[in-house]
């Protein structure tokens, strides 16, 4: 059994090596994004349209990681979770990488203002005027309102993640228990607004790629992937910190097992939501809905759809079921990396096959992966920078001793 005194000999502040790594990640991220954009604009035969698609996938991917971690922080406060206190700071720090992710959203918004309709056809004013349905949707789907909505999302996510990190760090200094109460109080309305902003953001960024298609479950589908990959990144970050000599005794297999349980739960939830969305559309068999799946069931996307079903559900469902898998770092790390990869494939699958085959751009491994790696590096670099100089454990949280002594049956 763990006991409450074992933080005293634990390294709970990021060491010099870690800080250096953070800086390196930040620079690497910027360089990779620049390279990705550069290649996309020059050598890539797909032109700007291809670059924007690659950019959107990478953006939605890294956004899903940030939002997943923000949700993790909110839900711990909302449920007044005690088991997670010792690992919560790492989630807070990672979620605090959201502001820089939101800044990357400009890469989607700016081309719109330059009347580029490569990504979203509803930006094309002339097309909208001549299409009754798009014209009807124009009061919602227009560049100005889109920008306003994005500003609201980004301000909310950035502000909320910063609030949680700052308040939690303030508690380290003052030791005031009321700060826990404040965060618990904020978490309730924050969760409602989080659900609304995430849903609308997924509609705006992903569903409106095909403005004629609609699914009321789409927001939940994106959400399920966010939370699953958020937990995966969370566990991997803890393992990275531990392998570099931080928080080695405070964080135990018990905490990993619980993170693994949540991850397993959201693997199943993703399948549940994904299937619910599919089955209703399949059963109703209405052309304005079925085409979205039809595109994804045609070659070559059929293979990706099947790979997603197996890789995103069947294999991790069986693989993560056992408690021993979740308690051993090696096996848990394997599934975390696996799920982070399939989450990328999911975004890839959501973005590319939209519109008739002739109107689509093909994927480009080089640009896709460079941009994704760059954005992830930028996000992690930014998060690590925010971790510098603060405790990696909320040392004055009233529930810390419970968390340290936490034990699964």
């Amino acid at each position: 059994m763990a006991n409450a005194n074992n933080t005293t000999d634990d390294v709970i502040v990021l060491n010099e090596e870690g800080a250096k790594f953070g800086r390196a990640m930040l620079i690497a991220g910027l360089v990779l994004i620049a390279v990705g954009v550069g290649v996309g604009l020059s050598f890539d035969t797909r032109g700007l349209k291809g670059l924007l698609h690659s950019y959107l996938i990478a953006f939605m991917y890294v956004l899903s990681l940030g939002l997943g971690l923000l949700w993790i922080v909110i839900i711990q406060h909302l449920s007044k979770a005690r088991w997670s206190v010792v690992v919560r700071r790492v989630a807070e720090v990672l979620a605090a990488g959201l502001p820089i992710v939101c800044a990357l959203g400009l890469g989607i918004i700016i081309p719109m203002w330059l009347h580029n309709a490569d990504l979203y056809i509803w930006v094309d004013h002339e097309l909208v005027q001549n299409d009754h349905l798009l014209h009807h949707k124009a009061p919602y789907l227009n560049v100005s309102f889109f920008t306003v909505r994005c500003a609201v999302y980004f301000a909310f996510w950035g502000g909320l993640s910063t609030f949680f990190l700052k308040t939690s760090v303030r508690q380290d200094e003052t030791g005031k228990a009321e700060l826990s109460g404040l965060m618990h109080g904020v978490s309730a309305p924050a969760m409602i607004l989080f659900a609304i902003t995430l849903t609308f953001a997924s509609i705006d960024f992903l569903m409106s790629l095909d403005p004629t298609w609609f699914s009321t479950m789409f927001g939940v589908y994106y959400f399920a992937g966010c939370i699953m990959s958020g937990h995966a990144l969370w566990a991997l970050s803890l393992m990275w910190l531990q392998s570099h000599g931080h928080i080695t005794t405070s964080v135990t297999a018990e905490h990993y097992q619980d993170i693994g349980k949540m991850m397993f739960g959201f693997v199943v939830f993703w399948a549940y939501v994904g299937f619910s969305q599919f089955m209703l559309i399949w059963y109703a068999d209405i052309p304005e809905e079925t085409h979205w799946y039809h595109w994804r069931f045609e070659e070559p996307w059929k293979q990706v759809s099947i790979a997603l079903l197996i890789g995103h559900f069947v294999l991790p469902f069986l693989g993560l079921m056992s408690r021993w898998v979740k308690r051993k770092k090696v096996s848990l790390a394997f599934w975390c990396i696996w799920l982070l990869i399939v989450q990328y494939i999911d975004m890839f699958w959501l973005v590319y096959p939209n519109g008739e085959a002739a109107d689509r751009v093909p994927p480009s491994a080089l640009v896709d992966l460079t941009l994704a790696a760059g954005m992830v590096a930028l996000f992690l670099g930014s998060a690590i920078r925010r971790a510098a100089g603060i405790n990696l454990i909320p040392t004055k949280d009233p529930a810390l001793s419970d968390s340290l002594a936490f034990h699964n049956i």
Binding site: M1, F278, Y283, D285, M321, I409
Partner: protein, 425 residues
């Protein structure tokens, strides 16, 4: 008590072995069930459990008001196999759920619904999912009870006054007399070494392990009562009765309404159906063009298409489409009367079947178009009337297409336009 604890208790509890004549007894001379030691904290209990485990005892257990972390290890209890049972039940549920639907919908009783495939994974996932969950959940629940040998109506510890506090704030360890290592003095010495706050002899439970008779009677009574509706249903099965059937759920069977061809005292003539008002025509019922609506010119069948119908390529395509929907099941795609319904009727060989007409026979070819039109409208022999289902325009289109089918039977290469002949090869 946690599941794990109660499980270990039952797993190691072997009350069937009755104490032998030289078996240990309590101070009062009663047969001994075991020696009970009382502790005040989980820590004390854990330490005691480790000692008893290390001494090699197997038929013993600990009792606590809440799950004590690490007690399984301290007692040396092996990991439960319940997860594997649940996993196996889940896999069984998956197979049963999917297999049942595959058998009923895809093999045994194929029934076409809205053009969907007979068997399709997508439609069957919800039931498969539910059955998987049901099997797993019931196995988890029932398996837990079975592995713990619960419920247990009677236990020796029920009579120990001090043991009542086990649900409140006391911790106990009990070494049973049936343990092969049990020794009247050595065991008591070992227990004393664990520094308990109190030690007590527990007399063996002499009451019957069976359920009280009352429960048996009530269960039997309920089981018999449950058979009554089934028995009644079985007894009246296939019998005739002049009594109206029992309506458990009346639905809308007895609503007040007036039906066609029945009486209605409200009207003077006492009829529920109202005749058309004299001198009026209902909307769409005028049908003043006899050629178009009835296929007749004067009293004879029309030999030409009516002027309101233009026999062109579009009409031909429309006729083909309607023909494929309404006529093909009996008359077949080529019109020779060997459609799937006709084939099936011949297979049944019931003798009452009048086969559909071969539309390409000479006598049908000679029928005027008006007569063909009339047959579609009103039906003939056992062919039903299609007038209410197919608009006049479409009926004429079908007639046009039937003419094309008749012509096609006598066609040869020279009838095909030169430009399209290459496509025939």
């Amino acid at each position: 008590m946690s599941d794990e604890e109660s499980k270990s208790e039952s797993a190691m509890d072997n009350t069937e072995d009755k104490p032998k004549s030289d078996a240990p007894t309590t101070a009062n001379g009663e047969p001994l069930h075991g020696v009970l030691a009382e502790y005040h904290t989980p820590k004390e209990l854990l330490a005691a459990a480790e000692k008893i485990r290390d001494a090699g005892y197997t038929v013993w257990d600990t009792y606590s008001p809440f799950p004590v972390h690490g007690i399984e290890k301290a007692q040396g209890i092996p990991w439960t196999i319940l997860p594997w049972l649940v996993f196996g039940a889940g896999c069984t549920g998956l197979t049963v759920g999917l297999g049942m639907q595959l058998w009923t919908n895809g093999v045994d009783y194929k029934y076409l619904i809205s053009g969907k495939p007979f068997f399709s994974i997508a439609a069957n996932i919800p039931i498969t999912f539910e059955i998987t969950v049901l099997f797993s959940a019931l196995t988890a629940f029932g398996g837990m009870l079975a592995l713990n040998r619960l419920p247990k109506p009677s236990h020796a510890l029920d009579h120990v006054e001090r043991f009542n506090r086990v649900t409140d704030d006391r911790f106990f360890a009990l070494i049973e007399a049936t343990d092969p290592k049990f020794d009247d003095t050595a065991t008591r010495t070992l227990i004393a070494e664990t520094s308990p706050h109190h030690v007590e002899d527990v007399p063996a439970d002499t009451r019957s392990e069976n359920l009280p008779k009352f429960f048996t009677y009530v269960a039997a009574f309920l089981a018999l009562t449950a058979l009554i509706p089934l028995g009644y249903a079985y007894s009246v099965r296939g019998t005739t009765s002049t009594q109206p059937r029992i309506h458990i759920v009346p639905d809308m069977d007895f609503q007040q309404k007036f039906k066609p061809q029945r009486g209605n005292p409200f009207f003077e003539d006492g009829r529920a159906m109202r005749p058309q008002i004299e001198g009026t025509v209902a909307s769409g019922d005028l049908q003043d063009d006899s050629h178009f609506y009835r296929g007749k010119v004067g009293k004879a069948w029309a030999r030409t298409f009516p002027s309101r119908f233009t026999p062109n390529e579009a009409a031909m395509q429309r006729g083909r489409e309607r023909y494929d929907i309404f006529c093909v099941p009996c008359h077949s795609v080529t019109g020779n009367g060997s459609g799937i319904v006709a084939q099936h009727a011949l297979e049944l060989a019931e003798g009452t079947w009048i086969p559909p007409t071969n539309l390409t026979l000479a006598n049908i070819k000679q029928q005027p178009v008006g007569e063909l039109y009339n047959t579609i409208t009103h039906g003939i022999r056992n062919m039903p009337a299609y007038g209410s289902q197919i608009d006049p325009e479409d009926r004429w289109a079908i007639v046009l297409y039937v003419r094309a089918l008749q012509r096609a039977q006598a066609g040869n290469v020279s009838h095909v336009p030169a430009a399209k002949r290459a496509g025939l090869k």
